[in-house]
């Protein structure tokens, strides 16, 4: 294996890591705040990609891509916001909320996936990337757009972290996540804050979906894979800090990239899931942090 191959694998691993970070953070934020796992997260990724694809069909080029991204992110924020009231809020005072939310989000995923099938058909599609040029990194020829994706993904995560830490509304979001009753006693509208959280998560999923859709083919059921990968990332990293799943995402991305090269496509997911079970057995709180959930 030459340096060019190594660099190629490494860079594509880092790129994957960036995408996984975006997806997994969305999932982790919902888990830590609402206390449930959102099994429709993969479907959010898929729907975000399809909305963006539709817009790029109407307005091509770099400008179209930007419009498509913004529109898709905004629409998905709204959808996430609304879905909180349909899927999770009804059980907020039910002791079985975790299980009930699993089934309601699974059903929502089924609705979204089948709606995509109805609206756009089963055939593979791809969003035309706005930048086609390639750059040379230590002999490996890599799409320039990949670096743009990585940069934007990291920027988006950074912005989200800043929003949660420094702005008052971000802080109230964290407060509602950490102690619901105390937040209510401060006069905060907790259901609204939870809805915003799910909206943010859906928006980040949409952004990830757009990027995935512009480097790979998409079809109505492609959300299952991002969902599973996000799960692996969240478990591996834990949710002790906002940044924990991000580190884990890069570990997973690079590990996947290398294992795909050395072990083949079929075995690389098996390696990931075996890693996940091992981590759950040895350090259930994740590789990066103590046993607590927070933002």
């Amino acid at each position: 294996m030459g340096l060019d191959t190594f660099m190629f694998i490494l860079v594509s691993g880092v790129l994957l890591g960036g995408l996984y970070a975006l997806m997994a953070t969305g999932l982790a934020v919902v888990w830590t705040t609402l206390g449930v796992f959102n099994f429709a997260h993969g479907a959010f990724v898929a729907l975000g990609a399809y909305i963006a694809w539709q817009v790029t069909q109407l307005a091509a080029g770099g400008f179209g891509f930007v419009i498509a991204s913004v529109l898709s992110v905004v629409v998905m924020f709204g959808l996430g916001f609304v879905l909180h009231f349909a899927l999770i809020k009804p059980f907020e005072r039910n002791a079985n909320v975790v299980l009930l939310a699993v089934i309601s989000t699974l059903a929502a995923a089924s609705i979204i996936e089948n709606s995509i099938l109805l609206g756009w058909g089963p055939r593979d599609k791809q969003i035309t990337p706005p930048i086609e040029s390639r750059v040379d990194v230590f002999g490996a020829s890599i799409n320039a757009f990949d670096f743009v994706i990585l940069a934007i993904a990291l920027l988006a995560l950074f912005a989200m972290a800043l929003f949660l830490r420094k702005t008052t509304i971000g802080r109230t979001l964290r407060a509602a996540a950490q102690n619901r009753e105390a937040a209510e006693l401060m006069g905060l509208n907790v259901p609204m804050l939870f809805a915003i959280t799910l909206g943010l998560s859906a928006a980040s999923a949409a952004l990830a979906g757009i990027f995935v859709g512009s480097i790979r083919f998409i079809n109505p059921s492609f959300g299952a894979d991002p969902l599973m990968k996000s799960l692996v990332v969240v478990i591996l990293g834990g949710v002790a800090r906002f940044s924990s799943p991000i580190y884990a995402a890069f570990v997973v991305g690079i590990a996947e990239s290398f294992s795909a090269y050395f072990l083949g496509l079929y075995w690389s997911p098996a390696v990931l899931f075996a890693m996940m079970i091992a981590v759950l057995l040895i350090k259930p709180e994740g590789l990066f942090g103590h046993r607590s959930k927070t933002l």
Binding site: L87, A107, A108, M228, I235, F273, M276
Partner: protein, 617 residues
């Protein structure tokens, strides 16, 4: 002590027998292949979902690898039958082995984790399994799966012949066996250990339930029948594909479980028919079908999280309340002469602050005696006193709400000791009973004490078949002898057998000698039974003890030595003694209702007490 009657003596026996008979005969009516195919799928989903309840419902282990058991069953059948080439029946029989092995392996991480982590590790395990299956394409056919699996035959007869009649009965047999297994498991010591570990882990462990062993067995036991179902599925459809790992299959099975209601065996059977039936009905609509099913799932889960079985039970509850109320109003009109003959006086409905009650009042006499009957009984239980004492005292007895010929009342507000005591107070005011002597039997004994404790006018209080309670619930096991009949007292629905048991033990008389009392057990609103016991904890027991302790109201206990419920040693404790009787007065050989069984002896003792009270001034 747990009351668990054999299945043929419970209320569920007849409906289940009926459904089984219908399913047994259904193929003679439903001959079309597609309809039978749908029924076979329903059986498979019902087996899958109801066995999931062992881990998810009863065990509280949110095991998302359950469909992995099914997949292992399917692939073991396929590999054993096609690649290894053994007899298909033997292959089917062997399917649980690898599945149980997988379950046991799964128990290792599950034991170490809790809550949402269990969901995640089991999902990961299933995904890992899928990857293994997909990557070993030499044996498993990879992503495209395996086709033309060996079919099941009996001699030369193929089970798929005659529109799949053989598979239909095999599927039904599987479902029956699985349901029988679940029913037995739930009622076994193992089943109780599984539930105990779910409800209060540390308490269960401290009582000697081994967590590791129980969890391991929970998962292993839940793997047996899904594996059979997987093998059966493979033999029936003759296809094994990795689709069984998909989210779609998971969603349908989980929705069968949740729509039916978690921790109910029968719920899965009902929900499987609804979900699979709907899905087969809409089979031609493709994506729309999936959307419709998902909408139904969300709708039911959001609006009625209890599930279909709970809905059925609530309907049955409503029906039962309606039935008992109609029975009461029917009897009020038709059996009035019979009741008047028994009591020597006709009864009338009187409005109180807790609904209408039927009251029998002899009206003549200076001193009034108010009689309060017990759980699932009626005022006619005091008929011997009404005949013997009516010349000397004014006698009043009433049917508690939901009992006898009183109408049913609001379960939340009217079926508790405080409400019953308030009814007694209302009657004292309405009928101008002055300062009555109050006699309470069994549950009525607590009503009498509560009446006095609330500061209502009472010249004296006597109770029978009741153990005083100092602290609740600690004194319940001390004051009463644990027996299955105690459990019946607070049970909402009684099967005919249970009603007979309860009636003969409380009244202590053979079946046809006391028709009115016999009917009363049948008539009693199940909610009254349930609520009166459920709300015992809201009673101020200290205040009741104050009545006995302070001695301002003369008090005595009159019991039957053969009473099967109360603990006589407990009742004889010195702290319950009064100046009238240091220990409870015992009536010869009487049982739980001495005033009815040996009324002559009882009346003498009761009058002695009253005279002593009157003598005191």
């Amino acid at each position: 002590m747990k009351y668990a009657p054999p299945f043929q003596r419970t209320n569920g026996f007849l409906p289940v027998l009926l459904v089984f008979a219908v399913l047994l005969l259904l193929p003679f009516v439903v001959t079309e292949t597609y309809a039978r195919h749908t029924l076979i799928l329903i059986f498979i989903y019902a087996v899958l979902a109801s066995n999931w309840d062992i881990s998810l419902g009863y065990g509280g282990i949110v095991n998302f690898a359950h469909l992995g058991f099914f997949a292992i069953g399917l692939y073991s059948y396929a590999i054993l039958g096609k690649v290894v080439g053994i007899d298909p029946w033997l292959a089917l029989l062997l399917t649980p082995l690898p599945a149980v092995l997988f379950a046991a392996l799964l128990a290792l991480p599950v034991l170490r984790l809790e809550g949402i982590y269990v969901i995640l590790v089991t999902i990961a395990a299933t995904q890992l399994l899928q990857q293994v299956v997909v990557s070993q394409s030499t044996y498993t056919g990879g992503t495209s799966g395996m086709v033309l699996l060996p079919r099941l035959t009996v001699g030369d007869y193929k089970l798929s012949s005659d529109n799949r009649i053989g598979y239909y009965y095999l599927g039904l047999g599987l479902l029956t066996a699985s349901t029988f297994f679940l029913y037995k498991l739930e009622r076994s010591a193992m089943g109780r250990a599984i539930k105990a570990l779910r409800d209060n882990k540390y308490y269960a462990i401290s009582r000697g339930v081994s967590e590791a062993r129980t969890r391991l067995l929970t998962l292993s036991l839940s793997a047996i029948f899904p594996a059979f179902a997987g093998g059966f599925y493979g033999a029936y459809l003759r296809v094994a594909s990795p689709d069984v790992f998909g989210l779609g299959f998971l969603t349908i099975t989980l929705s069968v479980l949740l729509l039916g209601g978690v921790a109910t065996i029968w719920g899965s059977l009902i929900a499987a028919s609804v979900v699979v039936g709907l899905s087969q009905l809409l089979a031609d609509y493709g994506a729309w079908r999936n959307i419709a099913i998902a909408c139904v799932i969300i709708g039911v889960v959001v609006v009625y999280p209890g599930g279909l079985f709970a809905a059925l039970q609530e309907l049955w509850n409503g029906f039962d309340r309606l039935k008992t109320n109609l029975l009461a109003s029917y009897r009020r009109r038709t059996s009035a002469p019979l009741r008047a003959r028994a009591m020597g006086t006709a009864d009338q409905l009187i409005e109180t602050s807790h609904g209408q009650v039927s009251v029998c009042d002899t009206q003549v006499g200076e001193q009034a005696i108010l009689f309060i009957h017990g759980n699932s009984s009626c005022k006619e239980v005091f008929r011997n006193q009404f005949h013997a004492l009516r010349d000397q005292y004014r006698l009043v007895a009433f049917d508690l709400p939901g009992h006898g010929v009183s109408p049913n009342a609001d379960p939340e507000n009217d079926y508790n000791l405080a409400a019953y005591a308030q009814i007694a107070r209302d009657l004292v005011d309405r009928l101008k009973l002055g300062n009555p002597i109050v006699f309470g039997w069994s549950l009525g004994g607590y009503v009498a004490l509560e009446y006095a404790a609330a500061g209502n006018p009472a010249r004296a209080v006597a109770i029978s078949g009741t153990s005083p309670v100092r602290t609740f619930p600690d004194d319940m096991p001390r004051g009463y002898i644990p027996s299955p009949h105690m459990e019946l007292a607070g049970k909402r629905f009684h099967s005919p057998h249970e009603k007979t048991q309860y009636a003969t033990h409380t009244v202590g008389l053979p079946k046809h000698s006391e028709p009115l009392l016999w009917q009363a057990v049948w008539r009693t609103d199940g909610m009254a039974r349930k609520q009166a016991f459920a709300k015992l904890q809201t009673t101020d027991w200290q205040r009741q003890m104050g009545v006995i302790r302070d001695g301002n109201v003369p008090f005595v206990m009159i019991n039957g030595p053969r009473d099967p419920f109360i603990n006589h040693d407990f009742c004889a404790r010195p702290e319950f003694g009064t100046e009238f009787a240091e220990k409870p007065i015992l009536i010869d050989t009487a049982g739980h209702a001495p005033f009815l069984e040996l009324s002559d002896v009882f009346n003498v003792q009761f009058l002695n007490f009253i005279r002593a009270v009157e003598g005191r001034g």
